[in-house]
């Protein structure tokens, strides 16, 4: 195992809800103990429920500031105004605040969703024509530095 791989593994473990981690594999022995958080105590009682309930992927935010455009309503997510058109935005595109980034169809009404910040689309988080809940993350966007 190369040092890069070890770093990757350590980063990976640190990004998880893990308190202690030990591994021995192919000549590697690694032990990792995270400091114990103190603040979260109150939330903890809810923990079993929350864990089971959470329907959003627990994506780990990297160092760079990421902003999410979320669904303003429940409905079906469309990346383009109609099936034959290209998507409003794709990864790597720069959008300005107010640009339409997708459509959410609800009750046969097409609702345009606008970017609420300017920046570069880092990731499109929902597949085209998929249902989305209220508040669901649709796009990860790296805001411009002002």
């Amino acid at each position: 195992m190369k040092i890069e791989e070890i770093k990757e593994l350590v980063d990976f473990i640190l990004s998880k809800q893990v308190e202690e981690f030990e591994i021995e594999v192919e000549g590697l022995r690694l032990k990792l103990v995270k400091p114990k958080p103190e603040v979260k105590v109150v939330e903890a009682a809810q923990l079993p429920a929350s864990q089971a309930l959470s329907q959003e992927p627990r994506k780990e935010e990297s160092e760079e500031k990421v902003h999410y455009i979320t669904a303003p309503m429940i409905g079906t997510f469309y990346r383009a105004p109609d099936p034959s058109s290209p998507p409003f935005v794709k990864e790597g595109d720069h959008v300005n605040k107010g640009d339409v980034v997708c459509i959410i169809e609800a009750m046969k009404l097409m609702n345009e969703v606008e970017a609420d910040v300017s920046g570069v689309i880092k990731e499109v988080l929902v597949e085209n024509a998929q249902p989305v809940e209220f508040g669901q993350k649709l796009f990860a966007i790296i805001p411009d530095n002002d």
Binding site: A45, A49, L53, M73, P131, G135
Partner: protein, 445 residues
């Protein structure tokens, strides 16, 4: 048969409906607000969709969002529970227009019962006694005076668009009428955007007794009565089935009268007819609720029926699964509503439940969706659990409820448990003869 039922509600009633649906092999979908993400209904449903922020207007009252969730999930029916969209005829219409089943009466019936004056006239035409009063809207004080003289003081001025106890004014004399009529009109306009008033005889010492019916559109069965006089600001807190106040003769008369009228209307689903009963056991129709009631469990306990299951079956197009003769109420049931509120000031007490123990055992039924560690959100009703006690007679049910309340432990939020215990101990409650004024005006603790 319904295949997938969307439950457009939260809390204990969402779980209650879910249980009956699952029992029938129906898949369940719940919609939830951001405040309810960690709730039991969300955890226990087959599917759950967030439909908006915590405020009811933005989520549980947001028809478009509920309908979108129905579309996305492929639900073929919607159960509205109680409150929220349950008595909104427009919502029922939309549901049906989209080709889905609305678990409730027809939109026309919801609309009819929503217009208090029209409901009153219709019931009168169908032979159900209503309070003496004006034929329709009263616009001038002179007309009001003539009606008041005919029916006798005290009278009550009611806003046509009011309801649930709001927009009412009690008048004891011609002088008071003169003084209050215009003010009442103005108030009604400000509160409900309509100054229309009507007049009813006011009964000073009244019992609130209601009759539960279930209909399949053709046949209607009145399954029993409930005493709901224990209330504060028109919020019921303790209910009993059957009413300990009315005689068997009055009971039979009420049930038959309601059953006949409801059948002539062709009512479908669960509907509750609320009555005022005076001290001579004369009963007068006030209004009808076109939805499952909070207090439905006490009727279930004395009849052995599952009202929600019947309601879903009827919505699926089935006919009533039982006959009038199958309903043989036995024993007595009392429900106590446990609210997260200050027992003296009645100020809501949202917050986290730090310790919870709920009672069980012989004769005890608990309907709740809360758990230890649950954060009661401040956006909705303060009711967190219903304790229902069943006994072979009223005495037994009362004792069982009292012990059950003693064996209930809720730490972290204030609750009305001390009030409930005191109420149960009061001689007037024990006597079974208490009016709607008891809790607010007579009870001292």
């Amino acid at each position: 048969m319904i295949k997938k039922l969307l439950i457009a509600n939260r809390g204990e009633i969402a779980l209650r409906i879910m249980a009956s649906a699952k029992e029938l092999g129906i898949k369940t979908v719940v919609v939830f607000s951001e405040a309810d993400r960690d709730s039991m209904p969300v955890q226990l449903a087959d599917e759950a969709y967030c439909i908006g922020p915590a405020k009811p207007q933005d989520s549980y009252l947001n028809m478009a969002a509920v309908m979108s969730a129905a579309e996305i999930s492929g639900a073929d029916a919607i159960h509205p529970g109680y409150g929220f969209l349950s008595e909104n005829p427009r919502f029922a219409e939309i549901v049906e227009a989209e080709g889905l089943i609305f678990v409730g009466p027809s939109p026309q019936h919801i609309k009819l019962m929503g217009d208090k004056q029209r409901a009153r006239r219709t019931m009168e035409e169908l032979g159900v006694p209503v309070l003496p009063g004006s034929e329709g809207v009263v616009t001038r004080v002179g007309e009001a005076r003539r009606i008041a003289e005919k029916i006798g003081y005290p009278i009550i001025l009611k806003a046509v668009a009011g309801g649930g106890g709001r927009g009412m004014r009690i008048i004891n004399s011609p002088a008071e009428l003169e003084e209050n009529f215009k003010t009442a009109q103005r108030e009604a306009y400000l509160a409900f955007n309509s100054q229309d008033l009507y007049i009813e005889k006011y009964i000073e010492r009244a019992h609130h007794v209601e009759v539960q019916i279930i209909g399949d559109g053709e046949r209607v069965i009145a399954v029993g009565d409930r005493e709901c006089s224990m209330q504060r600001r028109h919020q019921k807190i303790v209910e009993e089935a059957p009413s300990p106040f009315i005689s068997q003769q009055t009971r039979e008369k009420m049930l038959t009268t309601v059953e006949r009228a409801a059948e002539r209307l062709g009512l479908r689903s669960l509907v509750t007819f609320e009555f005022l009963v005076d001290e001579d056991e004369n009963f007068y129709f006030i209004e009808a609720n076109t939805r499952i009631q909070v207090e439905h469990p006490i009727t279930e306990q004395v009849t052995g029926l599952d009202l929600v299951k019947e309601q879903i079956l009827i919505a699926s197009g089935e006919k009533l699964s039982f006959s009038r003769e199958d309903v043989k109420p036995f024993g007595h049931a009392i429900e106590a509503r446990i609210n997260a509120e200050d027992p003296r000031s009645f100020a809501p007490s949202p917050g986290r439940i730090q310790f919870l123990f709920l009672p069980g055992g012989n004769g005890i039924r608990v309907d709740t969706a809360v758990f230890q560690g649950y954060e009661i959100p401040p956006f909705y009703d303060s009711m967190i659990a219903k304790l229902i006690a069943y006994g072979r007679n009223r005495e037994e049910a009362l004792h069982k409820l009292e012990v059950a309340l003693h064996h209930t432990s809720i730490v972290g939020v204030k609750t009305n448990l001390p009030l409930l215990l005191s109420l149960l101990k009061s001689p007037q409650f024990r006597s079974g003869n208490y009016t709607t004024r008891f809790l607010e005006e007579e009870f001292i603790w």
